[in-house]
C-alpha cells in the first residue's frame, strides 16, 4: 500500500501548491495512464516520456537523428552491424550510472514476447543486441539498414529497475519511473497532475525548474485557463480559438505541422455502400465548405494526403456539391423518389453516421451533415461512440455504415495500412489490385519520384473508387504564454527541445 500512502502524503502538499517561477504547466486532455515508454499508448504518454526518458538518438532542431545517449557509432560495410559507443557521463534519476546493459536490456525487454509491448515494431528489425563493454553496444540487423540511427529514437529503460526482460504493466516501475531525461518525475498528484523537477545531474540541465502536466479534459476550458494564466502551455489549440488567442497579447501561438485529414468512410461490405453510384451520390450531396466553416480554418482535400504533401495529386478534382447529379446517381443505384423522400424499395432510405466521441467538433459536423442529407431526402441516424466501443465496432468488427473520423500521419504519410487490401486499418474494406501494387512499390522504392508518382496515382484511384469522402485538414497550433521563451516544438514529440526553454 505504498502508493496510497504516497498519495495521502501528497494530497495535503498539493492542495494549494503555488506556481513558483520557472514552473511550466501544460494541459493534456487526459492524464497519462502509465509512465513507461514500453507501454505508452497515447500522445499524452508520448509527450511525458519525452521529458523523462531519452533514446540513443534524438531529433535535433533540423529533425536529423543525432546522438543522445549514444556518443558515436560505426556501421559495418554491409550495413548489417552497428557498434555504438555510449556517453559515459549519464546517470539515471536514482543516481545509478547508465551503461550498455541498459541498452541491451531495453531492446530485449521490448522483444520479449511476454512483455506484450505495443511498441515491439520499433525494435523488431534488430536481430541481436550485445554488450561489448560497459559503454559499447553492438547491434545486428535482419537486413542492411541505410540509416539505422533514424530507427534508434526509442527510449532506453534502466535494467536495474526491473527483474528480468519480461516487463509487466504491474511492475513497480510504473510508480517510480526512472529515466535519464531532463526532468525527473517527483509525484503523481490527487488532481491527476504529474509534477516533474529538473534533473540537476543531467549533462545539460534544463532551464525551467519544474514542469507540471495538468489534466484538463474540456478543450474549450484549456484555452480559458491559458488566458487566465493558470497554464503556460497548450499542446493543441482548437482551430476556432486561434483568432482569439492570436489577439491576446499574453499568448503566443506556435504552428506545428500535422499530416492529418478528416474523412467520411463507407463500409464497402454493406449494402448500399458497396454501390459506387450510391457513394457518388453521397459525395455530391455533402457540402464540405459548409461543414468546415463552423469548426475552423483548413484545406479541403480530394484524397488521403494533405495538400502540401508531395504525394497529393493536385489534378484530382473535388466532388462538387451538386444535388441534381446526386439524384441521378441515386436513381442509378436503384432508389426512387417519393415526395421529398428517397425510398429503398418500400422503406425510406435510411443511413447511420457514426463518429468518435472524442473527435473534436465531430458533433457539429455530424449534425450539419445529417441536416444536409435529410434535406436531400435521406433519413440519417447518428451515433457517437466512446473509444472502446469505437475500437470494437469499427476497428475489430467493422460494424458500421458511415463513419466520420480523422487520420494523423507522421511525415512518412504511409497510407498502406488504410488502403491496402490486407491493411490492418482498412476499415472500409477497400480493395483494389492497382492501388495495392502502387502502395507496395512506394514502400519498396528509394527513388523519390517513383514514390511520388505511384502515390499520386493511388490518390487518383482512391478518389475515383470513393471508399471514403475526403473532407479536410485543419490548422494545428500550440499556444504558450509569452513568459516562456526560446520555444522550439517538435512536431510529434513536442518536448524534445524543452531543455532550451526559458521563463521570466
Amino acid at each position: 500500500m505504498k502508493t496510497s500512502l504516497l498519495l495521502h502524503a501528497t494530497a495535503l502538499a498539493t492542495l494549494s501548491m503555488p506556481a513558483f517561477a520557472g514552473t511550466l504547466r501544460y494541459a493534456e486532455d487526459q492524464a497519462p495512464g502509465i509512465v513507461n515508454p514500453i507501454f505508452s499508448t497515447s500522445m499524452p504518454e508520448t509527450r511525458l516520456n519525452e521529458l523523462i526518458f531519452e533514446g540513443l538518438y534524438t531529433d535535433n532542431q533540423e529533425l536529423m537523428s543525432v546522438p543522445c545517449l549514444a556518443e558515436s557509432a560505426e556501421v559495418s560495410e554491409d550495413r548489417t552491424e552497428m557498434l555504438i559507443h555510449l556517453r559515459q557521463d549519464v546517470s539515471w534519476h536514482d543516481g545509478e550510472r547508465f551503461t550498455a546493459q541498459d541498452v541491451v536490456f531495453t531492446i530485449e525487454a521490448m522483444k520479449d514476447r511476454n512483455t506484450l509491448s505495443p511498441e515491439l515494431g520499433r525494435v523488431s528489425w534488430i536481430k541481436k543486441a550485445e554488450i561489448v563493454d560497459d559503454y559499447t553496444v553492438k547491434l545486428r540487423f535482419d537486413r542492411p539498414e541505410a540509416r539505422p540511427e533514424d530507427k534508434l529514437l526509442f527510449k532506453i529503460l534502466p535494467a536495474h529497475g526491473f527483474d528480468g526482460t519480461t516487463v509487466k504493466r504491474t511492475d513497480s516501475f510504473r510508480n517510480n519511473p526512472i529515466g535519464t531525461g531532463p526532468y525527473r518525475l517527483v509525484r503523481y498528484n490527487d488532481d491527476n497532475s504529474i509534477s516533474m523537477e529538473r534533473w540537476l545531474d543531467h549533462r545539460n540541465p534544463a532551464h525551467l525548474d519544474q514542469i507540471t502536466m495538468r489534466e484538463v479534459s474540456d478543450k474549450n476550458y484549456q484555452a480559458k485557463l491559458l488566458v487566465y494564466e493558470s497554464l503556460e502551455s497548450l499542446v493543441r489549440v482548437l482551430p476556432r480559438d486561434l483568432a482569439v488567442l492570436q489577439n491576446n497579447r499574453k499568448v503566443e501561438l506556435y504552428p506545428y505541422q500535422t499530416n492529418s485529414w478528416w474523412y467520411l468512410g463507407f463500409n464497402l461490405n454493406e449494402e448500399p455502400y458497396n454501390n459506387i453510384d450510391f457513394r457518388r451520390a453521397i459525395a455530391h450531396l455533402v457540402d464540405v465548405d459548409t461543414l468546415l466553416a463552423p469548426i475552423g480554418t483548413g484545406d479541403i482535400l480530394t484524397g488521403p494526403y494533405v495538400k502540401s504533401s508531395p504525394f497529393y495529386n493536385h489534378d484530382v478534382p473535388e466532388w462538387t456539391h451538386d444535388p441534381d447529379l446526386a439524384a441521378m446517381y441515386l436513381e442509378q443505384a436503384g432508389f426512387t423518389m417519393e415526395g421529398d423522400q428517397w425510398m429503398d424499395g418500400d422503406e425510406p432510405l435510411r443511413i447511420t453516421i457514426t463518429a468518435h466521441q472524442a473527435l473534436e467538433s465531430s458533433q457539429e459536423v455530424v449534425i450539419n451533415l445529417q441536416s444536409q442529407l435529410q434535406s436531400a431526402g435521406i433519413q440519417v441516424d447518428v451515433g457517437f461512440l466512446d473509444e472502446a466501443t469505437w475500437k470494437a465496432r469499427v476497428w475489430r468488427e467493422r460494424d458500421f455504415e458511415l463513419i466520420l473520423s480523422q487520420w494523423t500521419f507522421d511525415r512518412n504519410e504511409d497510407i498502406l495500412d488504410q488502403f491496402h487490401k490486407g491493411g490492418s486499418r482498412n476499415f472500409t474494406g477497400f480493395s483494389n489490385a492497382d492501388v495495392d501494387k502502387l502502395l507496395e512499390l512506394a514502400r519498396e522504392t528509394t527513388d523519390p519520384q517513383e514514390k511520388k508518382t505511384s502515390l499520386r496515382e493511388a490518390h487518383r484511384i482512391i478518389h475515383d473508387e470513393l471508399p471514403m469522402v475526403f473532407l479536410w485538414t485543419l490548422d494545428s497550433y500550440a499556444a504558450l504564454s509569452t513568459r516562456v521563451g526560446s520555444v522550439v516544438i517538435h512536431p510529434f514529440y513536442f518536448f524534445t527541445y524543452v531543455g532550451d526553454w526559458t521563463m521570466d
Binding site: R122, S308, P448, K452
Partner: protein, 462 residues
C-alpha cells in the same frame, strides 16, 4: 472573392463620402506614428481618395491585398504617381521571387546531394545536368563541375553537349554563342536574356512545366519511372526580370533609389501607401542603408527606433529577441490606435478598421524584419517574425495582412532549419497565385521524401 467585394465596397464608400470633408485637427499627441501615412490617410481620407482616383482604383485594391501581378497591370497611366505605383508593384514581385530564388538554390542543391547519398541516381539520367546547372547558377562552381562531369558522360548527345558547354563557363552571365545550340542551352540563353532585358514572357509561358521529362529504369524495383526535372534558374530569372521592369516603370536604373526618393511630381503617398515605411523621412533614411538588401526596407526606419525597437541584430539567432521586438511594436501600435481612433470621423475609422491598416502595417514591418534576419543568416528569428506577421483568421490565404513574402520567408526558414515538410506547407499557400513555383514544390517534395526514407512510419486516429 467575398473579401475582395468587401474591400471594394469599403473603398468605394470611403471615396464617395469623403469629398469635401473638413480638415481634421492635427493630432494633439505626438506619437512617432503621427507623421505616418497611416495617420495621414485616416485623418484626411481625401488624400487617400485623390491618390486612388488619380492612379488606379483597381490597382490599389490589388496592391492592398498583395496581388502585385494584377496591381502592376492595373497601374497603366504614365503620370509620376501611377508609374511610381506600378514600379512598386513590379518591385514587390522582384523581391518576392528573390526570396523564392534563395529557397530554390538551397532546394536544388540539397535535393540532389541527398538523392545521391540516400538512393542511387540512375545511370543516363539528366539529374546531374540539372544539378550542375543549379549549382552553376548559384555560383557553386566546384559542385557544378562535379555534377557536369557525370552528365557529360551521358550517351544522350544533346545532354552530353549541353553539359560540356555549361562546364566551359565560370558563371552564367553572357548568353552562349553559336548555332545549333542544344535545346537545354537555348533555354539557358532565354533565361540570361530575360535577366538583362526583362523580357519574361517566353520564360513565363512554360514556367510550370518540367525542363526535362525522361523515362528511367529502376534497377532495384525492376520498374520504369518517369522523372520530371524542373528548371532551377526560374526564380532568379523572374526576380531579375521584374527588377528590370520595375526600373523601367520608375525611370531609374536603381528602383530602390526611385522608390525612396520619389520625384516632386509624384504624390508622396504613392511611395508610402501600404508600405512598412511610416513617412518620407524614413524612406530616405533607409534608402541609403538598404542598398545591399532592398527587401529589408522598412526594417530599420528611424520611426521604429523612436517606438523603442532595437535596430541592432543580436549576435545569436535567438527567436526570443524577435518576439520581444514584436511586443514593443504591438504595444506602440495598440497605443497609437487607441489614441488616434478617438479623433477620427466615420470615414477615417472605416479606412482604419476595414482596410485593417494597423495589422497591414504591422505585417509589412515584420516582413522586412524577417527578411533582414534571413539575410543576416538568422533563420529562426526570421521564422518568428514571419509567423507572427500572419493573420490567423485565414492562415491559409494570401490576404491584405498575409503578404506572400511572409510565406516565402517561412518556407526558407523552415527549409534552412531542416523542416522540409513544413516548408512545403508554406509553399502550398503560394502555389495557386504563383504557379511558377511548381518546380520548387516538386523538388522540395523529393527532398522531403528522401529525408524520411528510413523513418518508422506511423498513423493514428484523431
Amino acid at each position: 472573392m467575398n473579401r475582395l467585394s468587401v474591400i471594394v465596397t469599403v473603398l468605394l464608400l470611403s471615396l464617395a463620402s469623403c469629398q469635401g470633408q473638413p480638415e481634421h485637427a492635427a493630432s494633439q499627441k505626438l506619437s512617432p506614428l503621427a507623421g505616418s501615412w497611416l495617420q495621414q490617410i485616416t485623418s484626411s481620407p481625401q488624400d487617400f481618395s485623390s491618390l486612388v482616383d488619380a492612379s488606379s482604383r483597381d490597382g490599389w485594391i490589388a496592391f492592398h491585398r498583395n496581388d502585385f501581378t494584377s496591381a502592376s497591370s492595373s497601374f497603366k497611366g504614365e503620370d509620376a504617381s501611377t508609374r511610381l505605383a506600378r514600379g512598386r508593384a513590379l518591385w514587390e514581385l522582384s523581391l518576392f521571387y528573390d526570396d523564392a530564388a534563395r529557397v530554390s538554390e538551397l532546394a536544388w542543391a540539397s535535393t540532389f546531394s541527398t538523392w545521391k547519398e540516400r538512393s542511387a541516381i540512375p545511370a543516363g539520367s539528366s539529374i546531374p545536368y540539372v544539378a550542375g546547372l543549379a549549382a552553376l547558377d548559384s555560383g557553386d562552381l566546384q559542385s557544378a563541375r562535379n555534377w557536369l562531369a557525370i552528365s557529360a558522360e551521358s550517351t544522350n548527345p544533346f545532354l552530353a553537349q549541353a553539359s560540356l558547354q555549361l562546364a566551359s563557363v565560370e558563371s552564367l552571365e553572357a548568353p552562349f554563342q553559336g548555332q545549333d545550340l542544344p535545346p537545354l542551352i537555348a533555354r539557358v540563353n532565354q533565361h540570361l536574356r530575360a535577366r538583362s532585358t526583362g523580357a519574361l514572357s517566353p520564360i513565363m509561358k512554360s514556367a510550370h512545366e518540367p525542363l526535362v521529362e525522361e523515362r528511367v529504369p529502376n534497377e532495384k524495383t525492376g520498374t520504369f519511372v518517369v522523372h520530371r526535372l524542373y528548371d532551377p534558374m526560374l526564380c532568379r530569372t523572374l526576380s531579375m526580370g521584374f527588377r528590370i521592369k520595375a526600373s523601367m516603370a520608375l525611370g531609374l536604373d536603381d528602383p530602390l533609389h526611385a522608390v525612396t526618393h520619389p520625384t516632386p511630381e509624384a504624390d508622396p503617398l504613392a511611395a508610402l501607401l501600404f508600405s512598412p515605411a511610416p513617412n518620407l523621412h524614413d524612406l530616405r533614411a533607409e534608402g541609403t542603408r538598404a542598398i545591399s538588401a532592398p527587401g529589408t526596407l522598412g526594417a530599420m526606419s528611424p520611426t521604429l527606433a523612436q517606438l523603442g525597437l532595437v535596430l541592432e541584430l543580436p549576435r545569436e539567432d535567438d527567436a526570443n529577441w524577435a518576439r520581444e521586438q514584436l511586443r514593443l511594436l504591438d504595444s506602440a501600435l495598440d497605443q497609437w490606435v487607441v489614441e488616434h481612433k478617438t479623433s477620427l470621423d466615420s470615414d477615417g475609422l472605416a479606412l482604419l478598421l476595414d482596410l485593417k491598416l494597423p495589422e497591414l502595417f504591422r505585417s509589412r514591418v515584420l516582413l522586412a524584419m524577417a527578411r533582414r534576419c534571413m539575410l543576416a543568416d538568422h533563420p529562426r528569428q526570421a521564422l518568428a517574425f514571419a509567423y507572427l506577421g500572419l493573420d490567423l483568421e485565414s492562415p491559409r490565404a494570401l490576404t491584405a495582412v498575409n503578404h506572400p513574402g511572409l510565406q516565402a520567408l517561412i518556407m526558407e526558414g523552415q527549409l534552412r532549419t531542416g523542416h522540409t515538410r513544413e516548408a512545403l506547407d508554406a509553399l502550398q499557400i503560394l502555389l495557386p497565385a504563383y504557379p511558377a513555383l511548381t518546380g520548387l514544390n516538386e523538388v522540395l517534395g523529393d527532398l522531403a521524401i528522401l529525408q524520411g526514407l528510413d523513418r518508422f512510419g506511423d498513423s493514428k486516429e484523431n
